[in-house]
Point group: C2
Chain length 333, copies 2
């Protein structure tokens, strides 16, 4: 686990697009975001207070999170003075960048000198077991997509928040680097060795109270040939009681795979549900989450109404219209 709360480092990010991780933390775990810290020329602004390392430390920040992704995922030399100073002041560092903190000799030296931790969330820090398939207590929900990057993480986050606001017991379970940085822990599933994928998800979602929901972050898609194996391991390791079908209706082909068309929601349901029932015979598809960001509000509402009637399931865009109908369906299960 990464110690919270955080000071969010935006570095010299040219714009908000580069600050996706920091935005996720601000939006989904505002209580984890003490302040932001920026270098000269930074074009991103989270709307949080700008603090110095010392000010944020005094305000309680424990970890400096690199909340910015630059081209190539490298750790910029321009950042080094500040990162080393942070270690000297007692901050841990956390990063989801492709290049690892632990491979930067100056950071390793400073961390060792000051007894601090370098968290590279792309790399598993646990030796996961092989999955046993044993039934666990508590309830689990998993969003599955017609494609990658259709809003599965957002859907899970929105459900967790709505459940918490209703007083239900719910925990978002991160399976990717952004989710891990937002919440402070999880499994970087795409970096786990094949034999241990499903076991890592069993480890992530252990026995719990009978009325507790794990809302598991989805990854990939059963229909995306590059990553489908990861998705199936998530379905079988997660033992979900409830699946949510996720879709982006305007996409013309599978992400990064020209020539591969998206499946319909019906096809996704008909493939994902029998596979999920291998691990949990009671599993049900309980709703649909549509990413309508490229549609007008009228078109989005019309599309949701049509798809809800056609599939006989509640449908929403949780970002635009809230996750309420999905939580209603989960609560009724």
């Amino acid at each position: 686990m990464i110690e919270t709360p955080y000071l969010l480092f935006l570095g010299d990010a040219p714009d908000m697009l580069a600050a996706k991780v920091a935005i996720g933390i601000r939006d989904w775990r505002p209580e984890n975001a003490v302040a932001q810290i920026r270098l000269p020329g930074c074009g991103a602004n989270l709307g949080l207070t700008d603090m110095t390392l010392a000010e944020a430390k005094a305000a309680g920040a424990k970890t400096l999170v690199i909340g910015v992704a630059n081209r190539g995922g490298v750790i910029s030399t321009k950042w080094k003075d500040l990162l080393i100073a942070a270690l000297g002041m007692g901050y841990d560092l956390a990063s989801g960048l492709h290049n690892l903190l632990r491979n930067e000799a100056d950071l390793v030296t400073a961390a060792k000198k000051h007894g601090r931790i370098l968290h590279d969330v792309r790399i598993p820090s646990v030796q996961y077991p092989i999955a046993t398939g044993e039934k666990r207590t508590g309830k689990r929900c998993l969003p599955v997509g017609t494609d990658c990057s259709v809003g599965k993480m957002y859907t899970a986050m929105a459900i967790e928040r709505d459940m918490t606001e209703r007083g239900m017991k719910a925990t978002f379970r991160a399976t990717g680097q952004t989710g891990i940085l937002i919440t402070g822990g999880g499994v970087p599933l795409d970096a786990v060795v094949a034999d241990f994928m499903a076991g890592s998800i069993e480890y992530l979602t252990p026995d719990n109270d009978p009325d507790h929901w794990d809302i598991i972050e989805g990854q990939g898609s059963l229909f995306h040939v590059s990553y489908s194996g990861v998705t199936l391991a998530l379905i079988h390791g997660g033992q979900p009681d409830a699946l949510i079908l996720c879709h982006e209706p305007t996409r013309e082909h599978m992400r990064g795979l020209p020539g591969y068309s998206l499946p319909t929601l019906e096809t996704l349901r008909d493939i994902a549900l029998p596979l999920a029932q291998v691990g949990n015979s009671d599993c049900k598809v309980i709703g649909i989450s549509v990413n309508t960001q490229h549609m007008s509000e009228d078109d989005a509402r019309a599309y949701l109404a049509e798809v809800s009637q056609r599939m006989d399931l509640p449908a929403t865009d949780p970002y635009r219209f809230g996750a309420g109908v999905l939580v209603d369906a989960l609560a009724a299960l």
Copy 2:
């Protein structure tokens, strides 16, 4: 690639059960098996000539293969003198044991001194790419199972041999340690990092002659919750033109998973084929391979006739009755 031919090291194996790897090499690549070498007390015997290191070297052996698995997969201290002597005489070493040759300091020292290679086939030696899903030339066949360990490797080996005997172009593509040791190369899929699983299979089965068949070794099962993700990566990375359904009719539950029953062949077909058609819309199920080792010959023949009629597909036990009907179906595709 591991240099062939081999001298097969049986060590102090108590019986033939412990010599599975060596038996596979003898049965499927006899041309790779120059001789066997045993320690005092060895209870296994492949029926090959026993040779000393020097005799086998003179007969052309290039690599000493550890053809035995002992409890815990360790490299026995009793073997060390012989292994070090082999390195000194110019042999490479190859092993699929859980404990790695490269972690034995004395073997590393000897290998370095004599310029020899230590092959640990459990560990990938290649940085595989992420799968692109691009269509490749040549044809590919993949056995998929209702469960793990139902004879998928044996089926693929038998098909390759039958095709080669008919003058067809065929290559067995190993995806597990035993297959890799038998053939000298392949991808240890269960040890590949999740994001690169499908890409490793694209790498293993590249463009080829239009009339060439890659016969890909299957792994796991879509219905085995511990390993299903590996199987789906194999289906999507392999882009098979033909699937063969593999089954063991007497098994009472999924291997290692009490409480999980096996799917029917119909269920396997109905799940595996649509998933395979995501990567190759022309993919077909062409036949059934049944492991009848626990059935009398009469029962086996009756079962195969019944299942063949019920599924409207050729069915055989390739070990007992040959792979001919499967190759007929592939040749007709």
